[in-house]
């Protein structure tokens, strides 16, 4: 049971700007839920500007799955409904009144409820969107019968937050959340620990779940890799997954009857002056984190990590799923003979730069592409950082050719964009691989529905 599963292929990227292990309170009264965070959701607005809401009051729902609600993380007033081009709903902004009034969904012991009752509670409170499914990485379908539920308790991405620190002292809520999850599947709930670094008793003492241990470089912490190693997804099967902080939110729902949208966010990156953890609610305003705490260069704010996160505008809000903000420099500079010089201090997975001699060096990465887009020329590179029994190049080409059968045969159900992030980073041809994978997943979802 506690056999360690070793991931051999992969790459840890060391960056400057790791968050100091102290949790500070974030002071802000501005929050927003962004429909664009939810892949495949067509939002139907349920509130208007000026409406009063409580924590747990619905803001919008999915037009095609009306039982999936998205609710307010705080109590207060709807400050603004921001729309973009073609009136696409971008943000529902809420001004918190600081009272933390909440809708009461009723306390209960999840172990005494059946699947339908647990599902209904999660749907009504707006916590359900935290549960996502593989394949496609979209919000789970409540009507589905998942063959297992996966929780990765560690994140191996660059500057990832330390979940041990975040869940400290929340063992009861975490266990309660797990109890609720066990009602949702006839299969197992897998709790995946890092064999080396996971120390927290909160994870190790969990009951009613299967505990698996993983070791190895990133993407060992990606749930996709873990599913692939433990219980790979075949055609027609569905696996659900969520993050440890979401489990606590679920636990608190059953303990208090309220949607407690607490979230600890790690503010990280080379351009942050004092990287640290902040306790806040889901969807907090970016400026509340970075005001007076970043350098003066032209920066990129990322909701999430540098591999898979989303670019944030300066006046935007952190994403629903993100547990991390990363701030790096924009790399819009020309570099004289950059490809020909030895390039000390540059990050490269290839051994054509001297960086491979300095394994523990920490990098202040920026957004420069370091080259132009080319056709896929090099081979055998992706395989070094892609720990699946899948041929990455062939799958990518099948996606580009929109060959549905081939995509299916080559294992598209088992992967997600984030699993290809390292391939994208090391790609000599500078192909936007995650975008291609997303297109493939969207195409498959359309074909299969």
């Amino acid at each position: 049971m506690s056999n360690v599963i070793r991931i051999k292929k992969g790459l840890n990227i060391n960056m400057i700007g790791e968050a100091e292990k102290t949790i500070k309170e974030l002071t802000t009264d501005q929050f927003a839920i962004k429909p664009t965070d939810f892949i495949g959701v067509f939002p139907k607005l349920l509130v208007a500007e000026g409406d009063q809401v409580k924590a747990g009051s619905p803001l919008f729902m999915d037009k095609y799955r009306e039982n999936i609600l998205f609710t307010s993380p705080v109590s207060g007033t709807i400050q603004e409904i921001k729309r973009g081009a073609k009136r696409v709903l971008l943000e529902v902004r809420i001004l918190s009144d600081g009272k933390d009034e909440a809708v009461d969904f009723g306390q209960s012991d999840p172990l005494k409820l059946d699947k339908a009752a647990v599902t209904e509670k999660l749907l009504a409170s707006g916590i359900w969107p935290m549960l996502r499914q593989r394949p496609y990485s979209v919000i789970a379908n409540p009507a589905d019968e998942p063959k297992a539920i996966f929780i990765s308790t560690f994140d191996s991405a660059p500057l990832a937050p330390d979940n041990d620190l975040i869940v400290h002292g929340q063992g009861d809520a975490f266990q309660k959340g797990l109890d609720a999850l066990t009602r949702l599947t006839k299969g197992k709930v897998h709790l995946n620990l890092d064999a080396g670094s996971t120390q927290s008793k909160v994870f190790a003492n969990s009951k009613g779940v299967q505990i698996n241990k993983f070791a190895g470089p990133h993407p060992a912490g990606n749930v996709g890799v873990q599913i692939n190693k433990i219980d790979p997804i075949n055609k027609g099967e569905v696996v659900w997954y969520l993050y440890p902080q979401d489990v606590i939110t679920i636990g608190k729902l059953f303990m208090t009857g309220n949607y407690v949208a607490n979230k600890v966010i790690a503010l990280t990156g080379p351009e942050v002056l004092k990287p640290a953890y902040y306790k806040t609610k889901i969807g907090a305003r970016l400026q509340a984190f970075v005001k007076d705490n970043v350098t003066n260069v032209e920066k990129r704010f990322i909701s999430g990590n540098v591999l898979t996160g989303n670019k944030l505008e300066a006046d935007s809000y952190i994403g629903f799923y993100a547990g991390q903000i990363t701030v790096i420099k924009e790399g819009n500079y020309h570099e004289f003979f950059g490809w020909a010089l030895p390039g000390f201090g540059k990050f490269s997975f290839s051994r054509s730069f001297p960086s491979f001699l300095f394994k523990n060096r920490k990098y202040a990465l920026d957004t420069n592409l370091h080259g132009g887009h080319r056709a896929l020329v090099m081979t055998g590179q992706f395989e070094k950082v892609f720990p699946f029994d899948i041929y990455p190049t062939q799958l990518l080409k099948a996606i580009m050719a929109e060959d549905i059968d081939k995509m299916e045969n080559l294992g598209i159900y088992e992967v997600d964009e984030e699993d290809f992030a390292l391939c994208e980073v090391i790609d000599t041809s500078k192909t936007n691989i995650q975008e291609i994978v997303r297109k493939g997943l969207d195409l498959m979802r359309k074909e299969m529905s």
């Binding site: 540098v306 290839s350 132009g372 041809s429 975008e435």
Partner: protein, 392 residues
Amino acid sequence: MKFLRDFLDKQKPQFEKGGRFEKLHSTFDAFETFLFVPDKVTTTGAHFRDAIDLKRTMSVVIIAMLPALLFGIWNVGYQHFLSLGQSPGFWPIIFYGLLKVLPIVIVSYVAGLGAEFIFAQSRGHEVNEGYLVSGMLIPLVMPVDIPLWMVAVASIFAVVIGKETFGGTGMNVFNPALLARAFVFFAYPAKITGDAIWIGGLSKAEGVVDGFSGATPLSYAASGAMDKLPPMSDLFFGFVPGSIGETSKLAIIIGAVILIATGIGSWRIILSSILGGISMSLIFNLFAANEYMKLDPMTQIMMGSFLFGTVFMATDPVTASQTNRGKWIYGFLVGFFAIMIRVFNPAYPEGTMLAILLMNAFAPLIDFYVVEANIKKRLKRASLGLKPLKQN
């Protein structure tokens, strides 16, 4: 370098849409990105990228070929003066070598890159770096007395027919440099076979020492004159006639080490080709129907262009198999067929070129079966995996 940057920034608008030299955009872009890594930033996906790009990759390959080129230059001079019965010292040898080799390199680059630029221009895309390597490979696989116009025609053929008709770098089926050689081989056989062409000036036969034949080790072997084969040390260090870059195995091994250490050349292909060559030689040893078949594997590997081909040509990632398992099979067969063709083909003493071109054609098929095995495995898992679920 600020003034250079400022200069480029000032000129740039003229080459962009609506500018005076709009049609020369690709050319400008090629020179600009040669001087400066562009200021492009990531737009989707991962927010940072590896420092490596195709220019870096290609320049590593060129560095790996430099030892072979430098030795080739020296050897051209050395063989020339040997045929005259002279030994004039290091610098005259190098001078003669440069005089013969540099024009071939320049013609190959000018002709090939010219074709490449015209194509990029007419299609409006960026100039690809692939030819930087092909342009260096072509001179290295040519005999020193090849007429320059032939080099030019072959280079243009390689770019136009070998690469651009398939869609450019990354899409071609056959290795362009080998295609250039095959073109000369089939179009002008007299200029690439025989004994006289491997040594500079020998075809004119002025002042040549009596009895000096200029035959390569392979042509001795093909005629069964095993006693005339040069000693192993000459084969290894390369003091023998042959194509410009192929003779010194030491220089090629240095190149192989650079390619493997940087991870840019596939060690799987290099290793499996050598294994394939050894296997075929051993099989020949087993039957040993003639003198050539009796030749030991070590000599077979050290002769001709076998090592040069496996290190610099078979490893071309575009035309080789793309899967790791496929690379083992592909490489093994390259080595296997190279020795087989060399021994059995009476028309031409070397087999490496034809073996690699043959396997280039089969590489996609090998990949197809490797990937098919993965697909079957997945389908099998799916049919097994569903049963326990149904029982529950």
